[in-house]
């Protein structure tokens, strides 16, 4: 019966398409996770006396994304230049799923890593926490993740606070806007992102109290098309300075420059992308932190023996973060305002999160007279957007 045969073939084709799409999901882990991993030395027992110090770094995206992951990878290379005897194991493009547990396990069991830096937020819970319990002698250091007493002793954190540079870039953006509306592309609405978004808004509104900021959330750290769409939609609604905190802001900066609109960068200096439309940016300086960890570890200090503090903290003042060089479009007045605020922030004269502070729903968050200094643990619980952000 030819007709029946045709029917079954067609259904099979469709099923096959479904199956292969599923298979792609599986294989996509296969080919992304094998990037940038130096040769492994199996057989070297971890923690043996004469084996070199092995440190593992895990990145959520490519190590040269011209953004967040590159800021880490460059700092690791700089640390390695100072301590050539340390062995570095790097893995890039590891998703925030159980895949990262496999990466960590391989680093510990095969490469003999004694320290692991899982550099993305989503690696922490439950992945790092599980592995930390399983390998109590291995130390895990997380960037910008709040800790509490329930977390294992071998889990530490380091905070490179970007709220100060974000505040400064907000001042520049606020003074350069003519429509009074700024745009912000949010990757994920989590405390780390929201505190910097809020700081950006506070900076902009300190320079021009009428500024409003419109946000668009894309939902992940790197979604090129969605980021470009978000930028265009924000510009359609009248925003004339666009900032973002996605992993590779190059797309947002290009899309904004394409529409003749200013933008602010993030993570690393991106002035070259659009020299005339780029205002300034927020930059990490992980190098200062990684060198400190290397020094402490060389001196025999660990989290477990109390030599290494549970949390290493710093911002603009400590050199853990910085503001990028200003683009050519930035006016002298905006430059001066930002530089003045920079000095005031460093001296403690100016605080970013100070009362009276309301969120965009009108709830009082910080009462008058109270100040949340940089490093205040309450900053890491922020789940609100400050007054001036348009969002429902």
């Amino acid at each position: 019966m030819p007709r029946d045969r045709r029917l079954s073939v067609n259904r099979r084709t469709v099923l096959r398409g479904l199956l292969s799409a599923g298979a792609f999901g599986v294989t996509s882990h296969l080919w992304t996770s094998c990037a940038r991993s130096p040769q492994s030395e199996s057989g070297v027992a971890p923690n043996s006396v004469d084996s070199p110090l092995v440190i593992g770094f895990i990145y959520v995206g490519p190590g040269d994304d011209y953004g967040y992951n590159q800021s880490h990878a460059k700092a690791v290379a700089a640390m390695l230049a100072q301590f050539p005897d340390i062995k570095i194991v790097e893995e890039a493009n590891i998703p925030e799923t159980t895949a990262v547990q496999e990466s960590m396990r391989n680093m510990i069991e095969i490469d003999g890593a004694q320290i692991i830096f899982p550099t993305s937020w989503g690696y922490f819970d439950p992945h790092s926490l599980q592995l930390a319990q399983e390998f109590p002698e291995v130390q895990f250091f997380h960037p910008n993740h709040p800790l509490d007493d329930s977390h294992p002793a071998n889990v530490g954190a380091y905070y490179s606070s970007l709220v100060e540079p974000a505040f400064l870039s907000g001042i520049v953006a606020g003074l350069m806007s003519t429509t009074g509306k700024l745009g912000y592309v949010v990757p994920k609405p989590i405390p780390v992102v929201l505190q910097e978004l809020n700081s950006f808004v506070l900076g902009a509104r300190s320079a021009n109290p009428d500024i409003v900021v419109q946000t668009v959330t894309t939902g992940d750290w790197a979604l090129p098309i969605k980021e470009a769409e978000a930028t265009n939609s924000l510009i359609d609604q009248g925003a004339d300075v666009i900032s973002t905190r996605v992993d590779s802001p190059k797309i947002v900066i290009t899309a904004a420059a394409d529409r003749g609109v200013y933008s602010c960068g993030y993570h690393v200096d991106q002035r070259d992308v659009a020299p005339n439309a780029y205002l300034t940016g927020v930059e990490w300086n992980w190098e200062a932190i990684y060198v400190q960890y290397a020094e402490m570890t060389k001196a025999g200090k660990t989290l477990m023996n109390g030599g290494i503090p549970k949390a290493l903290q710093g911002g603009l003042k400590e050199g853990f973060s910085r503001i990028s060089d200003y683009g050519s479009a930035v006016s002298a007045a905006a430059r001066e305002a930002a530089e003045t605020a920079k000095v005031q922030l460093a001296s403690g004269e100016l605080a970013i999160f100070q009362g009276e502070l309301k969120d965009n729903r009108g709830n009082l968050i910080i009462p008058a007279g109270e100040v949340w200094q940089v490093g205040d643990p309450r900053l890491n619980t922020i789940d609100w957007m400050v007054e001036g952000v348009i969002a429902s």
């Binding site: 084709t13 080919w31 011209y66 429509t179 009074g180 939902g219 969605k226 939609s233 190059k250 290009t254």
Partner: protein, 315 residues
């Protein structure tokens, strides 16, 4: 205030603009896959072809800008994207037709190979700026900048729109189109006619991959106009699903591509007017659409009209 001028109109305008900007890659990949599948083979490797095309277009545009100028450099990039696609297509076309080789399995291997090669060769091109393709400014009649921006249309998109009916005509009215259909529907009959199945499939796959490579050039030289390793975000695979949705008809591939291109803009467009809830749902719109299509077309009570008879059969 200019801010309030657009307001809610920004949503349909944003979706329209997103459709015009974002559908070109879907269009090229789905047309390429349509041609491939019409000849009776599946090429899942178009995801890798797309990435390879995006990378080579960007790289060639960047490297050749000093030699041929910044107007022709991107066009050279487009051509190179097509040729690199053809190269990958040639591998697939040859491998997938060997005895007892499954074309789906080869396709998955080609995804890994194509994207791996693109990532490897593309490392030096993530940071530099390559010259972009020019765009037609069809919106210059309007005084609203948003409308002007929405109607900036890439020549590649127009080429893609023109290819769709041309391919339909090719299948229906030309001798070569008949060959492709014959090989895809009934290889035995084609063989009896004296047509070389191997050659027809080989060239169909190569031509299809050429188009998919150009789809990659749309990504890196038009919109969003950069080269990163995340640039394709699965569009190549979605385009394969799209061909089934379009029932292997090129003109329907066009409508389906417009639908998918527009779906990507829904989330951001709604959020920009302040609707922030359910953004995950909006962002998932294209995938929900794909699933629905799969469910509908998979109905056991209906046959898939238009599926090439030899598709998915081992030979």
């Amino acid at each position: 205030m200019a801010t309030e001028a657009l307001g809610w109109w920004g949503v349909p305008l944003g979706i329209l603009a997103g459709t015009l900007r974002g559908s070109a890659p879907f269009l090229f990949v789905s047309l390429g896959e349509c041609l491939t599948e019409k000849s009776g083979k599946i090429n899942l490797g178009l995801e890798g072809t797309l990435l390879m095309g995006a990378m080579s277009a960007y790289a060639i545009s960047y490297l050749s800008q000093d030699i041929v100028g910044s107007f022709w450099a991107p066009w050279l990039g487009v051509l190179m994207a097509g040729l690199s696609g053809m190269g990958l297509g040639a591998i697939h076309g040859w491998l997938a037709q060997q005895r007892r080789v499954n074309d789906v399995a080869v396709g998955i291997a080609m995804i890994i190979f194509g994207s791996g090669l693109a990532f490897f060769l593309g490392k030096p091109f993530i940071q530099p700026q390559a010259p972009q393709l020019f765009t037609f400014h069809f919106g210059s009649w309007s005084t609203i900048p948003a409308v002007q921006a929405a109607l900036r249309i890439s020549p590649l998109f127009l080429i893609g729109v023109a290819i769709a009916p041309a391919m339909q005509w090719f299948f229906r009215s030309t001798r070569w189109g008949l060959y492709v259909r014959a090989v895809g529907d009934s290889p035995d009959a084609a063989l009896a006619m004296g047509i070389s199945i191997f050659k027809v499939r080989f060239f169909s796959i190569m031509a299809g991959s050429f188009l998919a490579g150009i789809g990659g050039a749309c990504l890196s030289l038009y919109y969003p106009g950069v080269w990163t390793e995340r640039i394709s975000s699965g569009q190549g695979l979605m385009a394969v699903a799209l061909v089934i949705f379009a029932r292997w008809r090129p003109v329907q591939c066009l409508w389906a591509s417009l639908l998918f291109g527009g779906a990507q803009a829904i989330g951001p467009a709604f959020q920009s007017v302040g609707i922030n809830s359910y953004y995950y749902l909006f962002n998932a719109a294209p995938y929900i659409l794909t699933l629905l299509i799969m469910v509908i077309t998979c109905s056991p009570k209906r046959t898939l009209i238009g599926a090439p008879g030899a598709l998915g059969k081992m030979d």
